[in-house]
């Protein structure tokens, strides 16, 4: 069964979606969207470093994403606004990464496949990596759920209840780096942020509690992964971008429907 490239692609997209969507809920709640983007951009530099030092791509990307995330966390609140800092770091690391790749003579790499993913080329070892990473992220989130949630709600409430918000923040940072590192093959560096944010944003309209939002987001993400894969097969379009297009379409439709429902039931103005 795993010999079929389409089956492997399906499993890969579902694996990434299951980890990315619940994590994406925290990214939204904590207003870290740009933070996720910056971490993903740093991944290009990670790819360049892995190729230069003949390391597995996963290792280089994970290391670079962690360095990026920890640098941003520790620099913030020292005289720079967070968005300025992220803007500088994200685009500099993307540019440095692209320049560094061009220095690597003798190595032929398909840059497009790192920027936009190459899900149809996912091998069995990639699949193992993706599901291993996804399981780790889900484990971290479920294990620390109460602490993460309370720290997200209010750092002082968390402290008073005996949690350490800084430690919880670090766990999210690590989880984010893992998701970026495993998702690079599926949707690529530039579209990872979409897999984090769009399913979670879509799930918001249907959710009364944080738990339902995380579960619904995972479901929506997995559905979009499969539907996107089918569509790209049918329309012969690039797969990673097609998955994100399906996510976006679903977001627009549900937003309009939810809005219309509210207008009809409560008489709220459009």
């Amino acid at each position: 069964m795993l010999d079929d490239f389409l089956v492997r692609a399906m499993l890969a997209s579902v694996g990434v979606a299951l980890a990315a969507a619940p994590l994406g809920c925290f990214v939204i709640w904590r207003r870290m969207a740009y933070f996720g983007d910056a971490t993903a951009h740093a991944a290009v530099l990670g790819v360049a470093l892995s190729l230069a030092f003949s390391l597995p791509i996963f290792v280089g990307v994970l290391a670079m994403c962690l360095i990026m995330a920890i640098t941003v966390s520790s620099l913030s609140g020292r005289g720079f606004a967070m968005d300025t800092l992220l803007g500088v770091m994200a685009h500099s690391s993307l540019a440095i990464g692209l320049v560094a790749v061009s220095f690597l003579s003798g190595v032929r790499i398909d840059l497009m496949s790192y920027l936009f993913g190459d899900i149809l080329a996912v091998g069995k070892s990639d699949l193992l990596l993706i599901w291993g990473g996804a399981a780790t992220v889900l484990f971290l989130i479920i294990w620390r759920w109460s602490g993460l949630l309370l720290s997200t709600l209010n750092a002082d409430l968390a402290l008073a209840s005996g949690f350490k918000p800084k430690q919880e923040q670090m766990i999210l940072t690590i989880a984010l780096a893992i998701v970026v590192a495993v998702a690079i093959k599926v949707v690529g560096v530039l579209l990872i942020a979409a897999m984090l944010i769009v399913p979670a944003a879509t799930a918001r309209a249907f959710s009364q509690t944080p738990e339902t939002m995380a579960i619904v987001a995972a479901g929506i993400g997995a559905f979009c992964g499969l539907a996107g894969l089918q569509s790209s097969y049918y329309f012969d379009t690039p797969t990673g971008p097609t998955i994100v297009c399906v996510c976006a379409l679903l977001f627009v439709i549900t937003t309009i429907v939810a809005r219309a429902y509210r207008v009809l039931t409560t008489g709220e103005k459009v």
């Binding site: 939204i28 709640w29 904590r30 207003r31 109460s146 602490g147 949630l149 309370l150 997200t152 709600l153 209010n154 750092a155 002082d156 409430l157 402290l159 008073a160 209840s161 949690f163 944003a201 918001r204 959710s207 009364q208 509690t209 944080p210 738990e211 339902t212 939002m213």
Partner: protein
């Protein structure tokens, strides 16, 4: 002894916020911290819960001290769906009946299915208090908990605080700038203005020159008005004409 500060000083950047703070809180005691804006009241609270590390001095807490914290205001991002019931069960779960009882006791029954962001300021403040009490705290920290409540609402709130101590037996440390309202409920008052100006029983503090220097005439006349009211139950009109 639940918590004890010994010569605590806090600097933020190069600025000294708190200097040589020494006080302690015993079980079942109600203590009010009184101070003008920028006097370091909230910084002191944040130091007590561990959000800020003191620059010098020693902070001692009872082993496994359970703190119930009611913040001044709490902004909840509208992207975060959260029902009152879910919030009450954070971080640890309670039975449906326990939660319902706690909400009823706080004067906000049948709110449990509502979204937190849809609550009014007063309702949310009561929910915050109810949640803090569910953790069965040794020490309850209230940071200007009546801000945004009207006169009646804050009077109700303080009556509830008094009954909390009676029923649960926890100590209460609260920040306020309305001595005239908290006077009857509090055992001890600490006047704070970067350092501790004076502390003691409310009647003693309200007569002290340090207190008058800190709050000027406004508070003085309000306090006098309150004391006056205390003796005459029909002084409602007077209060209105003075307000």
């Amino acid at each position: 002894m639940l918590i004890e500060c010994d010569n605590l000083s806090v600097h933020i950047g190069k600025k000294s916020i708190l200097k040589d703070i020494s006080f302690s809180i015993s079980p079942k005691e109600i203590v009010t911290i009184l101070g003008p804006n920028g006097s370091g009241k909230t910084t002191l609270f944040k130091t007590l819960i561990g959000a800020i590390t003191p620059t010098s001095g020693i902070l001692t807490k009872k082993y496994r001290l359970r703190i119930g914290y009611v913040p001044q205001r709490l902004h909840i991002d509208e992207t975060l769906p959260m029902t009152v019931r879910r919030f009450m069960n954070l971080p640890s779960g309670h039975s449906k009946k326990t939660v319902a009882d706690a909400l009823a006791h706080a004067g906000v029954p049948e709110l449990d299915k509502q979204q937190i962001i849809d609550l009014s300021g007063g309702q949310f403040q009561r929910v915050l208090l109810a949640r803090a009490l569910l953790g069965n705290p040794d020490l309850l920290l209230l940071d200007e908990a009546t801000q945004g409540l009207d006169h009646r609402g804050s009077a109700d709130f303080y009556r509830q605080i008094a009954s909390v101590r009676k029923n649960l037996g926890c100590a209460i440390l609260m920040i306020s700038h309305e001595l005239h309202v908290v006077m009857r409920q509090t055992d001890r008052v600490i006047c704070l203005n970067g350092h501790i100006c004076c502390q003691g029983e409310p009647e003693v503090v309200s007569d002290s020159p340090e207190y008058h220097a800190l709050f000027g005439l406004d508070q003085e006349s309000e306090a006098a008005l309150y004391l006056h009211q205390g003796h005459h139950s029909h002084s409602h009109l007077k209060q209105v004409s003075n307000a």
